[in-house]
Symmetry: C3
């Protein structure tokens, strides 16, 4: 029931978790990911999985593991004018080790800045092309004068592991709901510490409630992580009945649900219901084959019923993939609202059974059976009666409770309550799937 969850929410603990994770230099592999997952283990008992570099996963190969200890650019006077120690965005992700002296002209081929936001440092990577580079603010760049610069990148790129976290919570059924977020970004906050934090809160919430479905949480590097997981768990994929990817869910924009490729999957209808009943600026957008790991989950060979939740879609806010996506950029009100909407959706999904009226020919004599009196709660008796009549009339083994809520115009929670009362009186039975 929707109200079961009122004691779980985004808390100061969530805020602390984000603050703790923020400084770590994550990438698609490496110790930053391991450190991040170990911190998450302090919150939920996830398992840490590793996949060796070189492993073939569909059309891809798990890359070498990348780690970095430090990096800087020194000017002619020996001053560190760019230092990885100040901000881990300064080094292009997956930069190969480098040590050398370069003229400004040569160095500039390896420098990236944002003239339109002169104080922000951009975020860039070079996963599949061996190269190196620095990101810096446009202001820093324009202050660099001609001369020779000393460059040092103390990184390593060698056969190692791709690391990810997985947390499985068993429910009544082996059918699963998949929740997935990416954990491969360094000091960026909305993208995607907000997603990691939301997933942790959802996992805690689900652990404590009754579950019809089993739930699987993936904390994975973007793209290569989902591809690796799908390749290594292909036989298991048929158990995944619903799911969603959690992207940037902490910015102050309105909540956004992006539909699955199927467009009318149950998860799509559930989020549509939740957002339709939210008096705010949340919105539904159609599926498109770019974005986050829904690209892989919704590739035609899998076509899973997996959507994506976010607030402002990526690329539609200037702070995206820059140092301005920092702790100030996300709002705990927004994160809480994202959490509430996800919990509402999961509650509906988990309660959205299909039932069969056990007295389908004419109405049962509800008066003598005392059904009405057995419904508790604050709603008025007239609404309860309507809900009971709707559930009895529509429950022919084809309509789910959400179908009944949609057709009757009654609140899903009231329909669930009515269905429960009818189940208790033997007038309803769950339909086989």
């Amino acid at each position: 029931m929707l109200r079961d969850c009122s004691d779980h929410q985004i808390t100061r603990e969530t805020e602390s978790l984000i603050r703790e994770l923020y400084p770590i230099c994550r990438s698609i592999t490496g110790d930053g990911v391991r450190q991040t997952l170990r911190i998450l283990q302090g919150q939920i008992p996830l398992t840490i999985q590793e996949v060796a570099s070189g492993t073939r996963v569909f059309d891809w190969t798990v890359p070498k593991e990348w780690n970095i200890r430090g990096a800087f650019i020194k000017n002619g006077r020996g001053d560190k004018i760019v230092d990885f120690a100040d901000c881990n965005l300064h080094v292009v992700g997956y930069s190969v080790p480098f040590k050398g002296r370069l003229s400004l002209e040569e160095l500039k081929k390896h420098l990236f800045a944002l003239p339109e936001h002169p104080d922000w440092i951009p975020y860039r990577t070079t996963y599949y092309k061996e190269s190196w580079g620095f990101c810096l603010s446009h202001r820093q760049l324009t202050e660099m004068t001609d001369g020779v610069y000393e460059v040092y990148i103390d990184s390593s790129l060698h056969d190692g592991q791709l690391t990810y976290g997985e947390y499985y919570i068993a429910g009544e059924r082996s059918d699963e709901v998949l929740l997935s977020c990416h954990i491969c970004h360094p000091s960026l906050c909305n993208d995607n510490l907000s997603g990691i934090a939301l997933m942790v809160s959802l996992a805690k919430h689900l652990t404590q409630r009754k579950r019809r479905y089993s739930y699987r949480f993936l904390f994975i590097p973007g793209t290569i992580g989902s591809i690796a997981w799908l390749a290594l768990n292909e036989a298991h994929v048929a158990s995944i009945k619903h799911g969603f990817v959690v992207a940037g869910v902490g910015d102050k924009g309105g909540f956004t649900y992006k539909k699955s490729r199927r467009r009318d999957a149950e998860i799509d209808r559930v989020f549509s219901y939740v957002l339709r009943n939210s008096a705010d600026n949340s919105k539904i957008i159609d599926f498109h084959p770019y974005g986050y790991d829904e690209r892989q989950f919704c590739s035609p060979g899998f076509n899973l019923s997996v959507g994506c939740v976010m607030r402002t879609p990526f690329g539609e806010y200037p702070e995206y993939h820059t140092s301005a996506d920092n702790l100030d950029f996300i709002s705990f009100e927004a994160l809480s609202d994202s959490f509430e909407k996800c919990v509402s959706a999961l509650n509906i999904l988990d309660n959205n059974g299909v039932y069969s009226n056990q007295n389908p020919k004419c109405e049962p004599q509800l008066g003598k059976r005392g059904v009405y009196g057995s419904i508790g709660g604050e709603t008025d008796r007239r609404t309860d009666e309507m809900a009971i009549l709707w559930v009895l009339n529509m429950s022919d083994g084809t309509n789910s409770l959400l179908d009944i809520a949609d057709r009757s115009g009654l609140n899903f929670a009231i329909i669930v309550k009515a269905a429960q009362a009818l189940l208790d009186h033997g007038l309803l039975k769950e339909s086989p799937e």
Copy 2:
């Protein structure tokens, strides 16, 4: 054809019938129902059926038969301040026999009035809970002073019969159209003497016209009557292809058609067509599982294509279930309009065949066959030609004449005329069902 019916209408005879039935005290069982049905036998040759108290009908049991001869409340001075003889609404339906003296305080537990309408007497029943009570105007209630009152209810509640009327008119086919109204209300006029009177007029009309379908008219007590009929005629239900329940059809509000549970049944499409072509305030409402006996006919175990016709939906007019639903409340213009719309719908339904073009490859050479000249009527030749081309083109064994009228935008009557001309020339053949 639609014009076949111009000589049948709501007449002064209909008005007389309503006036004759108005004073009778009907309930879900008892002599009032028998008397009512015998009066109807003066109009149409219906058969009177009886079902013994105690008979199990699905989840229900046919109740004891209730009859009442008189009832009153006397004040301390011996004046009858409430008297069943004045108005049969004064006694709560199914009140058990009672004789006693009560203080005003105790008596008030058995009194029902309407403060918001101080001159009206409410209508109440207690079918399934043995109890007694009086309904009175709020004005009467407020005039009662402290003291002891003498109460007398000369009723009986004993094993007997549930009585209903049934009238079957055979047509070319054994497939049936079901029309049903409730006959269990005492002196209430719109609810449902208007329905009874409309059904009688429709039965007379249908008796005299050519009928593709057979028609079955039920005059039954609400809820228990339809449940009993369905239980006792379950093997027969498959013959019912279409139908509608006739509720309050005499008030001055706009005509309302409530769809069947199927929502797009042929009867739903037929009434949609009729109302779409009416330049008045009539309207279509969606199915919902409360209301009249469509609740039972549309229960999921039967799911019959049965809608409901009314004017203002019950509960949306203050006179509903009060003494204000009297002879002045209904209008013969409204009743006539209800009749015309039902006749239009039944004419369409009965003519709505599916045909196959017998010359389906290219157009037949209509000129040499003289088809055009064979269509009579006032419509212009160009429209007749269009109708013929539409019927020929669409008649592939899947489209009904109503489908063709809808797609072409031509009037259903013109489409029927064209189909008849083509049938007469051997260019069309009715498709097997």
Copy 3:
């Protein structure tokens, strides 16, 4: 690809063709048709087919062949006041031979004029009723005074042939696209020299381009021509997958596409796409069973996916079937626009394959395969990437490229380009039909 066709267009040669055909007296049979088809053979290698009078074709019989050498009406002074030599519309088509002297009163039963357009000569025929008549301007008619008139019609009506032209262009597949126009009208320009000329230009265009489909062009007399063709080629009809009839396509009104009887056939969707992307006053109209030869192609026994292209629908312009439908009435800009829209539609149709992603599980690693770089053209790289992701994601063997263009909102040509790049890299394969 859409740009393949930029070197084919409506040219001065097209204008010359129309001027050459204009004076010829065509009808549903006869030497005018033969002469017309022989002139067309100078443009495209069509074959001329003949069907003997009396041949049964479904419900119809091929009529006698009609030819005319001359005709006139002389007044009492021996002046030719109406002369076939001035305008071949003067004689009602299929007029039987006649020679005689008639009073004005008797003669008037055979004269047809248009009072509302006093200078125009109407166009009339009497194919299936042996009769004769003259069409003349209302001005001519009002100038005729009482007296005796000499009438002479030097025509012949005897067993002969119905003549039509057919041109077949083989493509990769035996599946055919049918294009058909009527060639039975005398000196009328929009109806249908415009259609004939457009078909010739389309045939030239298609001859020179790569073709997935085979194309069949019919130059036939209206109604009886399409009926005869369908009757004599019935076994072949299953090869026709798409098509359209070409009616008046040269007037200055907006382009109009009339849907096939199926309403959502691929040809209907293709023209909808083309017109939706045209920033002009073109429009789609629904199928109706009157009009041109789509009446026969879309009769229920064939139900071919055949629409009809025109500009202003027939009957909606006053010049229709009068001498005012002359060389000045059509515009070469309009004819060019009709041509461009038909070419766009045929290009889409011919390229609208259904493909299967050969790497359907997760995305392929496009970077290492160099797919992006392989797409040429002016579009930006971001759009190309989107197109590639859409084609990969949607190509599951059920969605055509037009489906993908519609769903993605991307231009069809860009989708085709992306599909071609993926085919070239072995990532896509055409699905079996």
